[in-house]
Symmetry: none
DNA sequence: TATGAATGAGGGTTCATTCAT
DNA sequence: AATGAATGAACCCTCATTCAT
C-alpha cells in the first residue's frame, strides 16, 4: 500500500540505462550527473537517492554488465550440439550484441584503462576472464574429438580464442567497413581449432 | 639572447615525456596541466608556450607514439631471415616494450575509448592498423612456403595475428601472473600459422 | 479518525526535544531537517506539518527556552527566606541545569551570534535580560539591609550579577576542569554583594 | 625583481579583512566564498591560492585575532602606573575596539558555540583565557596594596574580572542603549576590587 | 496524519587557460 | 623564454522544501 510499489526497482535500471547511454556517448569524465539525469528524465538530486556518487553509478553499471555476461556464459554451457556449432552460436550472439550497441565498446575500453592502472579494478576483470577461459576450456575438453587438428591444449586454446575475440572486436571497432566481424571470427576460430575432423 | 635559439627542440620532448608518464599514471581526465608541468620541471604557463591546450599535448603524444610504432614496422620489414623467425623477433620486441612500461598500456585503452566514440580519432587508428596488416600480409605472402599448414589467406592471417597480439596483450594486462605473454604469443602464433613445413 | 484529535500537542514537544538535542550536538547550520526528523522518529515531511520551516523550529525552541527561564524567575520571586540564600538557591539551580545539559550552551552562543547581527533577535534577548534585571533589582532592593557593604545601587548590582553569571558560565564552558562554577559563582556573588551585614 | 614583490604578504591580510567583515555581517554559515571574494576584490578561485578551504579562512582569522589580543595583553603588562589606572586603561581600550566594530562580536559568539561542541576548539580558547587570567592575577598580586578591600584572592579576582567583562559585553551587545558599557565596567570593577585604599 | 519520492537552488572546490612582469 | 598570479566556467554534491499517495 506504499505510494509507489517500489520506486527503487524501477529507478535503478532506469538510471543505469541512462548512464550507459550517456557514458557510451561521452565517456566517464565528460559525462555530468546532469546529463545522466536528463537522459533518465529525473532531476540531478534524484540520482543521489539511488546512488552515492558518480563513481557508484559507474560501478553499478559494470556490475550489471558482468552479470549479463555471466548469464550469457550460462547459455553457452547449456546450448546442446557439437562443439563448433556451440562456439559459433555463442560468438555470433556476442557479435549481435556489439552490433546492436557499438558505442558501448567505448565504456569497455575506458574500463580497461582504469584496470591497467588499478589493481583492484584489474582483479574484477581477472575474475571475469578467468571464468570465461575456464568455461571455454571445459567445453573444448569435452569436444576434444573435434579438435584433433589443433596442436594446442584446451586451456591454451581457450586463451587463444578469447584473445582472438577481443582483438578482432578492436579491429572491427576501428574499421567496421574493412573488417567483417562475423566472417573474420568464424574464420579465425576455424584457423585456431584446426580442420574439422 | 638565449644561447639555444630553439628551445622548442628541447622543451617539446621534455614535456611529452612528462605527459606520457603522468597520463600513464593517472589517465587523461585525472591529469591536470599542473601535474604535467611539475613532472616536466616547468611552470604551467610554460606548457602553453609549446602546446595550445591539454588536448594538443595528448594529440602530440599519440603522434609520437605512432611514429615510433611505424619505425618498429620498418625494422620488421628489414629483418632478414625466415618468416617465423622474423615474426617472432618482432613480437618479442613489442613485448619487451610493453614489459618495460606496462602503465603506458592504459593510455592506449583510453585512446581506444575515444576512438570508439569519434570517427576522426578512429580514422587515425584505422591508418595505423591498416598499415600494420598490409605490411604483415606482404611478409606472409613472401613466406608462403612456410605456411602450407594454414588454411587462411595472407590477409586473413595478418588480421588474425594482429587480433591475437592485441587480445593477448589485454589478457596479460589483466592477469600478468596468469598469462605468460611471451609463450602464449609464440604458441598462438604457431597455432595460427600451422605446423612448420 | 485518529484517536487523539490533537496530535499537535504530542508532536510539537517531540520535535522540539529532538531539535534541541540535534542543535546542541551539531549547531543550527550543520543540522539538517533530516537529522531532526530522524531524532524525532518522524519523516522529514512530517516536520512540515507542525513547523513552517527550519527557522520556525529554531524560533519555537527559543520561545520554549525563554518560557522555562521565566518560570524559573517566578520561582526565584516566590522563594522565601533571606536575600543571599534566595540568590544562592537560584544560581545553584541554574548551574544544575547547565551541568545536566552542557551542550545546550552551544545553542545559546549561536543565538547570541544571531542577536549580535539582527536587531529583531536582539530585541527578544533584550526583553529577556531586562526582565531578569528588573526582577533581581527588586529583590536586591527588598534585601537592602543585607547589602550595606556594597557601594552599587540595586540596578547596578543586578546588572553586575547577571554579567558575572554569564561570564562565569562562559569561562566554565571553556575550562570545566579549571573553573569550579558553583564555588566561583558563590564567591563572586559574595565579592559583589560585599560582606554580609 | 619578481613580478610582485610578495603577493602573499599582501593578499592574505586583504582576504582576512574581507572575511572578517563578511563573517561579522552574515555569519560563518551564511557567508559564501563568493562573498569574501567580492569583498576582497578578488575572484573566488583566487582565495584558494591562499587558503585551503573556507574553514581554513575561519581558522586563520581566529589565529589573527588571538595574536592581536595577546599583543594587547602585552601592552597591559607594560603600562606603568598604579593598578586601578592600568586596569582601567586596558578595559577602556578593549571597549573602544568593541565600539569600533561591534559586529565582530558575532564572530566571537559563533566561535564560542563551536567551542562548546568541540574539545579541540575549546582548547584554543582555554589557552587564551588562561593566559589572560594568569596575567591579570600577576598584576593584581603586584598591586595588592590597593586591594585591601577585597576578600578574594588575586586569581579569584582575575576570574571574576574576566567573567565580568565578558558578561557586561554580552549585556551591552543586547542592549547598547540600556547598558553604558564604559561606566558599568568601571563601576563593576570598583565593586569587585573593593574601596580604594 | 504521515511519508517516500522528488527537485530547485545553490555552495565549495577544481582547473584549463590567460596575463602582467 | 618563463612564471607567479589570477580567473571564468564548470561540476559534484547537498538540502530545505514540496507533492502524490
Amino acid at each position: 500500500m506504499s505510494p509507489r510499489p517500489d520506486a527503487r526497482a524501477e529507478r535503478i535500471p532506469q538510471i543505469l540505462a541512462a548512464a550507459r547511454a550517456v557514458f557510451a556517448r561521452s565517456g566517464f569524465a565528460q559525462t555530468r550527473m546532469e546529463d545522466i539525469a536528463r537522459e533518465a528524465g529525473l532531476s540531478k538530486a534524484a540520482l543521489y537517492l539511488y546512488f552515492d556518487s558518480k563513481d557508484d553509478v559507474v560501478s553499478a553499471l559494470l556490475t550489471q554488465y558482468f552479470a549479463e555476461a555471466f548469464a550469457d556464459l550460462e547459455t553457452l554451457r547449456q546450448t546442446p550440439g557439437p562443439l563448433r556449432r556451440r562456439l559459433n552460436a555463442w560468438t555470433q550472439r556476442r557479435i549481435a550484441e556489439l552490433e546492436a550497441d557499438p558505442a558501448f565498446l567505448a565504456i569497455g575500453y575506458e574500463f580497461f584503462a582504469v584496470a591497467a592502472r588499478q589493481e583492484a579494478v584489474r582483479e574484477v576483470l581477472r575474475g571475469y576472464y578467468h571464468r570465461y577461459q575456464v568455461e571455454l576450456a571445459r567445453l573444448l575438453a569435452e569436444g576434444r574429438a573435434e579438435l584433433s587438428g589443433s596442436r594446442l591444449t584446451p586451456p591454451e586454446l581457450a586463451t587463444t580464442i578469447v584473445a582472438l575475440l577481443e582483438g578482432l572486436t578492436l579491429l572491427w571497432m576501428v574499421d567496421p567497413q574493412g573488417v567483417n566481424l562475423r566472417r573474420a571470427t568464424a574464420r579465425a576460430l576455424n584457423g585456431v581449432l584446426g580442420p574439422p575432423a
